[in-house]
Amino acid sequence: MQSTSDYNRKRFRMGIWFITPALLILLTVLAYPIIASFVLSFQRIRFAGNGLSHQFIGLNNYAELISNQLFRESLFRSVYFTVMEVIAVSVLALLVALMLNTPLGRHAFFRVVLLVPWALAPVANAVLWKWIFNTNYGVLNAILIGLNIIDKPIVWLGSPWLALNMILIADVWKAIPFIALLLLAGLQSIPPHLYKAARLDGANTWQQFVHVTLPGLKTTIVISIVLQSIWALKVFDLIYVLTHGSPADSTVLLNYLSWRETFSNLDIGYGAAIANVLFVIMFILALLYIRALRPRQVKEKRSGTK
């Protein structure tokens, strides 16, 4: 039999050993680059001979950002894209989740159906929609012409706003499954007796939805909105495959712009500055996510059950 304090000391020492490798990896590949990214954004970086020349230029990269029209447009488009994606996905995913929570929809088949778009590689998703949106051979034009909705093929990815919205559709399609699964998990955690009580009080289906379902889903909805905003701000694969930012840079969003400035135009400091703007936006969203998680934790602890 060992003494408690001895045992606890052993546990503590083991904890240090157990957590150190993970912390070392995360410091190298996360903490260091995040700090370095801010340092880089205060520099002008040029290719000189074999290496890079760094020159400190203070806030010049950020000043350039604010005065740059493409940056302002990209920021606006990113916000538009994110808001639209969040609204479309939340509504549609809630609809899907409600349907899958009915006796008919509980069949495992529908869960499998949901997992297919989720597991699909984002790039596979992108080439799939590139083919569907194809002007001459695409199935979208074929269907619309077949139904006599349009009489000649539409160049879906050829005009500015249309192209952006088509990318949005492809992104929404891919994002719905995960959010629907989140909401479904949330729906299933609402105690059935609440519905029973509401029915006894004479609430109809709609009233039950408004007064029982929505309040019960509040945390889940907040979390899914934050997660989606983050994903929508990061969209890259779809733009890369579908349009490369064309036509006339009208589908360039922040993440894509940062990548292009850094790795195509080799303006590394400027690219890092854009990345940091994105970082700050997402960090605020991350804080919201953590806040949304917290109160629930407290509530659960207080009630003493799961």
């Binding site: 904890g15 990896i25 990214s37 609809l95 008919l104 790039v123 998990a185 979390i223 690219g271 940091n276």
Partner: protein, 278 residues
């Protein structure tokens, strides 16, 4: 009247479920069909989907070594496998320390880990690219695996922490009373009963690394091009070869879609519910 309403409701739900299934699977099925027919039968109006036209020609053509898909699949496998293996080994230890070993500041560490999910990849990609070019790590398996750990490891720790917390405390106390050291408790009591969730988390990590595109496009050149890069190249360079483009997408998606379906219970319980539980 109540009966009518019920009938109507059921009709709407059925209609909704059918629409949902069509919209979710339709695009995917159309992609599969495209990869299995010659372009001429797809572009005729209406499409001529007579089974006699079925062909695997596209699949044979995409495996031509010059197209990079075959080596891409192998690279993706190597990278996804090692990323998941390292993430599991390192992550399970860290998760256990955070869940059960009373680490000081463990809440702070957890919140930081959670926050990493929100970082845009580009923020870490730029500095890492510069460092890795200097160390000759660009276009190596090792380099990409390290970078993938930056987003896989935090998720793995987060999911596993949840599982370890659900292991009954009594089991661990009993082991301690019997004289087991904390390490023995972890090794012989906690780990064995956590094998299924560990494996499922590994599958999840595998899928995420297999599908990754953004870091791969920045940190690979020729040698370690992954499958997603090869697919993107099909859509860029060979713009008219739609059948092959889709065939490569199907080939790269089959393994992960099958994994997701087989392990759907774990993915739903572990990851999806993990995201909404603190």
């Amino acid at each position: 009247m109540a009966l009518n309403r019920r009938y109507l409701n059921r009709f709407f739900i059925r209609f909704g479920l059918v629409t949902f299934t069509l919209l979710a699977l339709g695009p995917v099925l159309w992609g599969v069909v495209t990869s299995l027919f010659p372009l001429s039968s797809l572009t005729s109006r209406p499409p001529d989907l007579n089974p006699v036209n079925l062909t695997i020609e596209n699949y044979i053509l995409v495996f031509d070594t010059s197209r990079g898909l075959f080596s891409g699949l192998i690279n993706s496998f190597i990278i996804a496998f090692f990323t998941s293996a390292v993430a599991l080994a390192v992550g399970s230890a860290a998760a256990y320390a955070l869940a059960r070993l009373n680490m000081p500041g463990s809440n702070l560490i957890l919140m930081m880990i959670l926050a990493t999910q929100m970082f845009p990849g580009i923020v870490i990609a730029i500095p890492l690219f510069l460092v890795m070019s200097r160390l000759d790590l660009v276009d190596t398996h090792f380099g990409l695996i390290m970078v993938y750990l930056s987003f896989i490891l935090p998720i793995v720790i987060w999911i596993l922490k949840g599982f370890f917390e659900s292991v009954p405390m009594e089991l661990e106390r009993a082991a301690a009373v019997d004289g087991a050291t904390p390490l023995q408790t972890f090794q012989f009591v906690v780990l064995p009963i956590s094998l299924p969730p560990l494996f499922a988390t590994g599958v999840f990590a595998f899928i995420e690394s297999w599908n990754e595109f953004f870091f791969a496009i920045i940190l690979t050149r020729i040698n370690v091009k992954t499958a997603p890069i090869a697919i993107a190249e099909f859509s860029g360079q060979y713009t008219t070869l739609y059948g092959q483009m889709l065939a490569s997408a199907v080939l790269a998606s089959i393994p992960v879609v099958i994994l997701a379906i087989i392990f759907r219970r774990f993915i739903l319980e572990g990851f999806v519910e993990g995201a909404i539980k603190a």
